[in-house]
Amino acid sequence: MKIIVNGQSLDVTATLLDAALGELGYGEARVATALNGEFVPVPARASTNLGDGDRLEILAPMQGG
């Protein structure tokens, strides 16, 4: 399945968000997620299904003003 991860089209085999994060290398990372523009909190990742063409944003702490 192809999904858009942080603006980049990627292939993932996982169909649930938490599994996809692990597959993409974010398993233990301190990140927040949004799917198709909607915030998905950590407890909801295991029950959030992914579909072809979904837009996933994975955001991490960064410097800011």
Binding site: G37, I58, A60, P61, Q63, G65
Partner: protein
Amino acid sequence: MQVYGVDINSRLLLGTAQYPSPAILGDAIQASGTEIVTVSLRREAGGGQHGQAFWTLIRDMGVRVLPNTAGCHTVKEAVTTAQMAREVFDTNWIKLEVIGDNDTLCPNVFDLVEAARLLSEDGFDVFPYTTEDLIVAEHLLQAGCKVLMPWGAPIGTGLGLNNVYGLRTMRAHFAGVPLIIDAGIGLPSHAAHAMELGFDAVLLNTAVAKAGDPVAMARAFAQAVEAGSMARSADPMEARDMASPSTPVLGKASLG
């Protein structure tokens, strides 16, 4: 200063972006004496290691974090970013930015008020980046904000306090509300001026991060903010148009 029930001793809030290195950022935070630093959320490739390293650095400094919604142009973007920041940084505090124009980075005050209302209802402690407009400020307070952050000048310009009259009026109008000058500060004298006008604190980033010696500049800002705050408490003299001799006239010799 007390914001959202938290006592803050330092009147300087510091941004964490654009420093030459993480080590210099850490030294600048320490030199500034700040208790609150601003942070953000951004996309990161590579499993989030850089974000984790940055977070570890900030956490070890023992300062509070104030996540921002920098770059957001809509209510939806800002609210979603705030929700994500609350989870990652484990704080209800949010520096709310809803940008209306890319050249000036002027806040879209209409969307700002709406986003502030939604976030306040959702339990956030909102620090809104706003203008000196009194009516907007009133609406932000009605939306649930307990602190206001008017700009001194557009973000990153270093122009100082562009509208001293407007800021002075705002200070007088909202006497009991914590007011923090956010953005536009370029020099320690600008920060001291803000404090002399009676503002509770200043928030700045570029002026320190882009200085030739960020650590020394952080120290300079700390001293300027303290000096301005002390001067305000000391009740400055009134300015006047005509000269008035400070040396006594009485007893002056007649030598003509």
